[in-house]
Each structure stands twice: as structure tokens, then as C-alpha cells.
């Protein structure tokens, strides 16, 4: 095992990786931008290196600064986390050129799978069906391909992924504007304006398979995850196992994923994403990083994916065999974002003055912040993930609901009200949602709840705190001691209205 590893990331995933490194006795080097000095991921580290200014280009995307931090700290290996440079082949190559180990696949594998065009070729070579689509630099050719596939189509940045840099086009009149704006995002976000067109399937489900390869042709899987609950192609709730995949389909999906990993001689942890309709599936893309939603797999298999990544990177061998991997129960994750769900999910920034993560039986929280920590504007607004486990899906969902009720983040607005409503929605309980259900149906129900006025007691509490001032000593009773405990008033009954109803 390595003696010292640098984590080229921030936030909850840097904290998550640091936990495993600490457990293994590996010394941990954190990096941070100027606004992240003292952030939680730096507090979990043995050493911290300052990368540069807040802007990602100056810090977490700054390959030169990261390599310098690795050299200065004496790290032997670099874990990229997810996002930032995690799927940047140039970074992986630069890490290896510096004589360090990149904890992830080879630069060639990242490059091949990061380009939707070569990724599709690999899947097809492995005998796995792909979503109908087309590539091309030429506008006229793309327009013709869209016509051939039939609208709606999806325009994607060829080097994009994970829902970033993609746009749905309903008919031919919107195609040009979509090509323009996606091309702009492709260039600014992924450094390459190449585009790719894909047939938009009707109400598909999103299922992905976690794989692990030794880089020499051996590969195993850690079952699938269902991630059909999405908003704007961003995952909102993920679970393991998929509630809709039958045993036979599970075998075919995991076989297909392992075939792709073997075909590539894939190294490390990766995720093969599929779109499903009924018992049919199509390869969508392969992510060459640790996924945000990896905890649900960890809970169901009992395995630590970060540890497995480290072991493969350090030894070049798989530390376990397929038969060691056994599923037990069900796990569901939701992502806590700093965003105002009632106002178009606008990203929020500020200081998380008061934070209480849920705890208790069968609940896991991976958090990037603690009370008093800043939420800067410059980065992805994910604050934490709340995951619940159970013997059955119903049990896990009930626990998740209870856990989200307990969670509290004050000082910066979060999507907690949205998530609390989501986990109570009947199609979620029934596992009947496709990838477009949230936008097609749920957002309107949520808007009705989110738009309701706050209860009178909430306003009274805010006004009373103002009246008392911050200086009043605690224990002070204003203006006198409470009345006897008998009877009830409308105001307090009114607070009962604020229990979340079961939404459609």
C-alpha cells in the first residue's frame, strides 16, 4: 500500500477518500484553493497544500499546481475523486509522467471512454447494444442524422458526460440553437467543440453497473445501481439494487458491463451506464471515475470502493473475486445540494451556520461541511449525501424519509425541502419513475408545497428573536413563565399543516 496519497479534489468526496486513507494508515495530502483554506477536507488531512485562487482553473483544475503539491508533499499516488480532473486523460498522463501512480484507469482508457464516439465502438466490439446515434462535425450532416433518428434527439458534447453538456431537442426548429449552445459549453467545459447526436428514448430508466478491473484483462462487477430519478439529466436519488431489474436482466447487464471492462483491459473502478426499456438495454457511456453514488454499492456489498481502488492501484491485482461479492438488502442515496429548489434550483452560497446531519440505525452521511463551514460559489454545490439501508427497499426508503426529516442545514438554502417531498412521492415508493418523471410531473406538485406560506409560528419565532436581540441570556423567559399544559390553540394545530403530505 502507498505511504502517502494526494487527493486532487475538495468537498464531500475528498473527505470520503480521506476517511479510507486514514483507516489504512496512509498519510493524506489535501489540496485547497484560497477560499477552501480550513475546509473540512483539509481538516481530515495530514498535510495541506494551497493550489491557488478560488477559480477552478487556478486551483482544482490547475494540473501544474497539483503536480507541484504532489512533489512537494512526497505523495506517491494521486486520487482524483469525481469531477474536476477525474476524467481528464491529460492529467492522468501528467501524473504518471511525474513518476506517480494515478488512482484510476490509464490515460488511454480515459480518452477512449471519454469520447462518446470511441466509447460506442468499444461497446459494440464487446457485443453490447448502443443507443442509436450519430456524430459529425458538419451541421448539414447532423441535421440529416437527426431527421433519420427521428425527433426528439439529444445533442451532447462528445467529451461530456454525467448529464453535463447535453440538451434535448424536440423538433428541427430548435436544433441549431441547441447545437450552438452545446458547442459553446463543450468548448468551455470540455475543451473540444465536437458534438454527438443520440436518439432520445421514451421514458427510459437509467441503470448502471459498477465494475472493477486489474488492467490486465480481469474484471468483476459489484452489481447495478438504479439512477432513474433525475432532474435535467442530473441524478437526484440512486439505489442498489435496481428495484425493476429482474434476475435474468441483472445477469445480462452485469455480463455486458464486465465484457466492456475486459475488452478494454480496464484498470480500477468504473461504471457502465445503460438506458433500459422493459427488458431491453443500450450502452450509454462508461464513467472512468468513482461515482457520486458509490455508497449505495458499498452498503449493499459491504465493500469499500475507495479501498478497492487503492489496492488495485498499489498492486495491479484485484483483491477479491466475483464470488466474494454478495448483495445484502437495499440502499438508497439522495444528494444534498446548496440550491433553492423553490426558485428554479438556483445554486446557493454562504456559510452553513447550523448543520445537523441525521444519524442512527442504518443511516450513512458523507458530508463535505460541518457547522460554520463556507459554501463557496465557485464549485459544484453538493454538500453531502444521505444514504439509508434496509432489508427491503421499503425499509430503506422509510429510513431515508426519517433521516431527511432529521437533517438540518441553516445559513445556506438547500434542496432538503425538495428531497423530503420527493421521498414521499408515490411513484418513488412504487419504483415507477423514469428519468423524466421529476420534470414531467413531480416539479408541479412540489411547487404547490414550496409555494405555500410559512406557518404563523415560524414568522412569530423570527420576529420574537429579533425582539429579544442576540444579547439576551439563555434561559430567559419572555415575558413570563409558560402557562399550564392543557387545551390547545389553533396556532399550534396550524403547525400540523406543515407536515409534508404524500405527493403524487
Amino acid at each position: 500500500m502507498f505511504d502517502k496519497v494526494l487527493i486532487a479534489n475538495r468537498g464531500e468526496i475528498a473527505c470520503r477518500i480521506a476517511c479510507t486513507l486514514r483507516e489504512l494508515g496512509v498519510r493524506t495530502v489535501a489540496v485547497c484553493s484560497n477560499v477552501d483554506r480550513g475546509a473540512r477536507h483539509t481538516r481530515l488531512a495530514d498535510k495541506v497544500c494551497l493550489l491557488g485562487a478560488a477559480e477552478p482553473q487556478a486551483s482544482y483544475l490547475n494540473i501544474e499546481a497539483l503536480l507541484q503539491a504532489a512533489r512537494a508533499s512526497g505523495a506517491e499516488a494521486v486520487h482524483p475523486g469525481y469531477g474536476f480532473l477525474a476524467e481528464n486523460a491529460e492529467f492522468a498522463a501528467a501524473v504518471e509522467a511525474a513518476g506517480l501512480t494515478f488512482i484510476g484507469p490509464t490515460p488511454e482508457q480515459i480518452r477512449a471512454l471519454g469520447d462518446k464516439r470511441t466509447a460506442r465502438d468499444i461497446a459494440q466490439k464487446a457485443g453490447v447494444p448502443v443507443v442509436p446515434g450519430a456524430t459529425g462535425a458538419d451541421r448539414a450532416a447532423l441535421r440529416k442524422a437527426a431527421q433519420r433518428l427521428g425527433y426528439p434527439v439529444i445533442v451532447k458534447a462528445a467529451l461530456g458526460g454525467g448529464g453535463k453538456g447535453m440538451q434535448v431537442v424536440e423538433d428541427a426548429s430548435q436544433l441549431d440553437e441547441a447545437l450552438d449552445s452545446t458547442q459553446r459549453l463543450a468548448l468551455s467545459g470540455f475543451g473540444d467543440p465536437s458534438l454527438y447526436l443520440e436518439k432520445r428514448l421514451d421514458r427510459p430508466r437509467h441503470v448502471e453497473v459498477q465494475v472493477l478491473g486489474d488492467g490486465r484483462g480481469h474484471a468483476i462487477h459489484l452489481f447495478e445501481r438504479e439512477c432513474s430519478l433525475q432532474r435535467r439529466h442530473q441524478k437526484v436519488l440512486e439505489e442498489c439494487p435496481s428495484p425493476t431489474v429482474t434476475e435474468g436482466l441483472r445477469d445480462r447487464l452485469t455480463d455486458a458491463a464486465v465484457a466492456i471492462a475486459r475488452e478494454l483491459k480496464y484498470r480500477g473502478a468504473g461504471t457502465v451506464e445503460f438506458l433500459l426499456a422493459g427488458e431491453d438495454f443500450w450502452f450509454l457511456e462508461m464513467n472512468t471515475r468513482l461515482q457520486v453514488e458509490h455508497p449505495v454499492t458499498e452498503i449493499v456489498t459491504g465493500l469499500d470502493l475507495v479501498r478497492l481502488q487503492l489496492e488495485v492501484a498499489a498492486s495491479g491485482r484485484l483483491p477479491i473475486t466475483q464470488s466474494d461479492i454478495v448483495r445484502r438488502g437495499h440502499a438508497i442515496e439522495v444528494r444534498i445540494y446548496a440550491e433553492d429548489a423553490a426558485r428554479g434550483f438556483l445554486p446557493q452560497a454562504g456559510t452553513a451556520l447550523r448543520v445537523r446531519w441525521p444519524q442512527g440505525p442504518f443511516v450513512r452521511v458523507d458530508a463535505g461541511i460541518e457547522p460554520g463551514d463556507a459554501v463557496p460559489v465557485h464549485y459544484d454545490p453538493i454538500l453531502a449525501k444521505v444514504v439509508a439501508a434496509g432489508g427491503t427497499r421499503d425499509q430503506a426508503l422509510a429510513r431515508l424519509t426519517t433521516a431527511l426529516d432529521q437533517a438540518l442545514v441553516h445559513g445556506v438554502m438547500t434542496n432538503l425541502p425538495f428531497l423530503r417531498a420527493l421521498v414521499r412521492a408515490r411513484p418513488v415508493a412504487a419504483a415507477a419513475a423514469d428519468t423524466e418523471w421529476i420534470e414531467r410531473e413531480f416539479l408541479a406538485s412540489f411547487a404547490a408545497v414550496a409555494g405555500a406560506p410559512a406557518p404563523e409560528l415560524a414568522l412569530a419565532a423570527a420576529a420574537l428573536l429579533e425582539w429579544m436581540g442576540d444579547g439576551a441570556p439563555t434561559g430567559t423567559v419572555f415575558p413570563g413563565p409558560g402557562a399550564a399544559r392543557a387545551g390547545s390553540t389553533d396556532a399550534f394545530r396550524a403547525a400540523g399543516r406543515w407536515r409534508l403530505p404524500g405527493l403524487e
Binding site: L185, L353, R420, A458, L465, P473, T474, F492
Partner: protein
């Protein structure tokens, strides 16, 4: 004491009148509550009214108050000038919804615009947000240019009647 609070799209008023019997008469948008209050540690307070009591937790973040009652959170914003700001945003100014970079500007000053028409786009945290015109009108002033970094809450576009 009267105070005004923004609650989503509304501005609501609270009147507090300390009572001789050692309580508060609290009027929220005309709904009257008779409350006693005990301040606990760390922004918490116990509100009680004829036998019922509830624990409320209030966190102050600038003008915002994050209020927890039971398992529900509410975010209110102190309106210093009563309903003034509500009137302003009901007027012609379109504010940036978040900090970010203006990536596209589709209109110029003097342009006549229709409800729903894209005016400009802001990119932040890897997402592009299009700001559309809330109604028919004319662009009176354009306060941002493509490529510019803007803070949240600053005026980007002022509209006037197209007449």
C-alpha cells in the same frame, strides 16, 4: 413592534405586543397568537400557548432567518423597508439570480421584447440559466455584457412599458 418578512413571493407582517399577563400578543397577517417564549441555548426558543408548546430554532444569516419548527424548515427574509422591495421587484428590474458569468446577451437597449423571450444567459456551477422577460415591454437599460462576472441580486436588465 412591527416587522416585515419576505416569505417566498409574499411579504408578511408580524406585530408583537408584550402583554401585562406576561405574554406576547403576536399578530401574523391578521392571525392573532397569544405566546409565551423561553429562550434556550443556541438560537432555540420554546414557544407556548395555552398548554401547547413547540421548540423553534432560528438561525440568522444576514437578512435571512432560517426557522426550524418540528421537521420543517422555512427561510424568511427581513424586509427593512416594509414592502418597499416587493414593490421594486414588482417593477422593471431583473436581477441576477445567482453569481456567475454572463455568457450570452440576446437583446440591446431599446429592444421591444415579449413575455418569455430570452434576454441573457448566466453560467454558474457548470449550469447555464436563461433569463427571460417576465412580460411584454422594452429594454430600458442593459447593465451587463457577455463575459462579465456578476454577483447575485444585482440588476441586469431594466424593462419599461413598450407603449
Amino acid at each position: 413592534m412591527r416587522s416585515h418578512w419576505r416569505d417566498g413571493d409574499r411579504v408578511r407582517s408580524v406585530d408583537l405586543v408584550p402583554q401585562p399577563g406576561g405574554r406576547f400578543r403576536t399578530t401574523v397577517d391578521g392571525v392573532e397568537l397569544d405566546l409565551a417564549i423561553e429562550r434556550l441555548e443556541d438560537g432555540r426558543m420554546r414557544l407556548s400557548s395555552s398548554g401547547e408548546e413547540v421548540l423553534a430554532e432560528v438561525t440568522t444569516a444576514g437578512a435571512r432567518r432560517f426557522v426550524r419548527i418540528g421537521h420543517m424548515d422555512f427561510v424568511l427574509e427581513r424586509e427593512a423597508g416594509g414592502r418597499r422591495r416587493a414593490a421594486a421587484t414588482g417593477g422593471g428590474a431583473l436581477e441576477s439570480p445567482m453569481p456567475g458569468m454572463v455568457t450570452k446577451v440576446w437583446v440591446a437597449e431599446g429592444d421591444v421584447v415579449t413575455r418569455g423571450q430570452p434576454l441573457l444567459a448566466i453560467e454558474a456551477m457548470k449550469m447555464e440559466h436563461v433569463i427571460r422577460s417576465p412580460r411584454d415591454g422594452r429594454v430600458k437599460r442593459l447593465a451587463a455584457a457577455a463575459g462579465e462576472m456578476v454577483e447575485g441580486g444585482v440588476t441586469l436588465v431594466e424593462l419599461e412599458e413598450a407603449s
